[in-house]
Amino acid sequence: MSKINLTLKVWRQKNGREKGGFETYTAKDIDTDMSFLEMLDVVNEQLTHEGKEPIAFDHDCREGVCGMCGAVINGQAHGPLKGTTLCQLHMRNFRNGETLVIEPWRSRGFPILKDLVVDRSAFDRIIAAGGYISVKTGQAPDAHAVPVRKEDSDTAFDAAACIGCGACVAACPNASAMLFTAAKVSHLSHLPQGQVEAPERVIKMVEQMDKERFGNCSNEYECEAACPKEISVEHIARMNSEYRQAKWKAKH
């Protein structure tokens, strides 16, 4: 167990209306076994004792699955490690004396609420637009009524592993939400149960995504690199194809 000292430059912003800026703090005697969020906890305890307001940051499960946490560390969403959420990033990945610039996700689609906390309700609206199979409770046939190819089921799972953290948007040079949207489109359309509504779904979801004022995809694949669940951009290609076909084949 070793200890390191760090300089933190943290984005502080009182709320969505006021302007924000960087504040510098020192994090002393940070145990390298700590997670990044535990390091922030320690800094926050220290700030509280100094009579300052602690840094607001979203977090919940702290085991990489709820999708609540996330910040950009030195320009990288969720920090330097691949396939990792901020809560699973440990301080042994940083060097003694390092300066860390900590910023919120930055996108017009994710307005800042306070400090590192952003409003990701746009993602909920994209799902609400069509990210489901419209089956009501009680309508389902027996689970074995329709076999599903294992390969399709596995691919569907790969896409369904999305935790909705928003790192794809944060990392995209254009703040585009294509990977998030495509993951849901592709998850459902890979399953026979999801194919009935697939054309309507992709159209509605893409249109809602556009309404939320995210940027456009320019195939730079930074989303895939930042995704803590390493969801492939192949799902984006699939959505592009589904959208094109749905639009051109529609009868009216």
Binding site: C66, D124, Q139, P147, K150
Partner: protein, 638 residues
Amino acid sequence: MPELNAKIPSGPLKDKWTQHKAHIKLVNPANKHKYNIIVVGTGLAGGSAAATLAELGYNVQVFCFQDSPRRAHSIAAQGGINASKNYPNDGDSIYRLFYDTIKGGDFRSREANVYRLAEVSGNIIDQCVAQGVPFAREYAGYLDNRSFGGAQVSRTFYARGQTGQQLLLGAYSALMKEVNKGSVKMFPRTEMLELVVVDGVARGIVTRNLVTGDIETHAADAVVLATGGYANVFHLSTNAKGANVTAIWRAHKKGAFMANPCYTQIHPTCIPVHGDYQSKLTLMSESLRNDGRVWVPKKPQDKRNPRDIPEEERDYYLERKYPSFGNLVPRDLASRNAKEVCDEGRGVGPTGQAVYLDFADALKRSGKAVLAERYGNLFDMYEKITGSNPYDEPMMIYPAAHYTMGGLWVDYNLMSNLPGLFVIGEANFSDHGANRLGASALMQGLADGYFILPYTIGDYLAGVKAGKATTDIPEFKEAEKYAKEKINRLLTIRGKRTVDEFHRELGLLMWNQCGMARDEKGLKEALSRIFEIRNEFWQNVDVPGSGTDLNQSLERAGRVADFLEFAETMVYDALHRKESCGGHFREEFQTPEGEALRNDNHFCYVAAWEFNGVGKEPVLHKEPLDFEEVHLAQRNYK
């Protein structure tokens, strides 16, 4: 002391639910939209209930403290969900699932509820598959099953190690479908602070908008709490940081009974605590015990590298004590034994609060490739967190608080003793008795939400005049005022200690005195310490910031304040239950071999506590447990 009436339908066990459904009152489809239902919490229970109620036509308002309903802590469940489908053709049935659950719960649950749970378990799988939940499949395209603790059949459906996530996303998508239709109004980043009770009937809630700080009131014809468990009373647990007791505790303070709060589940395989700063404990799936061997050195304080300790100086204590189940004994036994060896000074690691889970033999036997296929993702996760590679050195594990079987008391219709207040999922005192089996929490949450509450709530609403819900009555104003005053009080103390410091202190106390093993002396000590900590909290806590914007310290302060009150009730319950059962182990009550010793003559009941003022002993109400179908026996896993 009046006995509680659980309103269990009459008739043979296997017909009760069918008969009940056939005879309960219904709400006319044309009238359903006139009823307002509030659902608090969006985990498996709350999400599924809200979606289903909206599909039926009710007007539903849904609240969650997270930024999206998709983040509720059900999402973190790893292993799977049980259902008595009998797809593997290994002799499973509704009755077997029912019996295993009753036995696993150490005969402290309601037969009728558990049977109903087993009965609807199959429908859950059908529903989830139809929603697009990508369960694991075999090459033929059909669903795969695996076995889990406490059962001799393979009835667990799973989606890699993220079953909870996939089921929750299914419920969430159903919920968002209704949001889109306008039948559900969603209030994310909103925390319930008060339950409003009018003439003994639940009529609404008071909430705080966590972004603006606005205190708001919401009226309804029925209030459904699906706010999860209270394992964070221990501060360190496998629960999400935000998981709290606030909603059910504040309902309890308004008259809802708290049942069996001392039944808490400690999961045996978690990554041990490694420092004072630790914020949470990470669970490593129970499945690791299939191939890992649990051991500690025979000598106390043996600080040698594990690989330097020769075979004959190791104590594989589970294999020694339970030769037939070995490393696969139920959770409560595995946990308690780990504590025992650590208490003897034989624990390992820097804190001495850990035991080894060693894969060396399995590696020799099956090879690295096989282990990587079975546990690769878990090993990676372990290495990510601890920086140690389980292929090279044994894992270190220690038990951690994981799930709480206790909760608000509900009758067969899932309604609390307050008319109009329904409680589902982990928030109610549940169908798990004194101990929950693996892969049963997901089953119960979804059973309650999809297939039970949507029927039973109609029975209540049919007797309520629609459209009467209004916040324009003094009870709402009072509750709102009370909530505001409490927040102001917290913000004006400006003491010297942070909220987390109090939470840590309470958690450690509860863990030591009311955790894996309890005794009268320790519990009594805990009572006086809780009182002291709570008093200091209200004089010396420092909650920075204001109440009119996003203030996470304030949110935590409110929750910790409630834990500080709730903890007392939990200890009272543990103190009064002079027996050992499931997750409640009283050291005074054990067999000569050190196993839990139940006292069926005196304690075969649900203990439902009525609030009697902060710091005062709550009033005990009993619901006797009648076992018609199963024979009470001592659990034996030797």
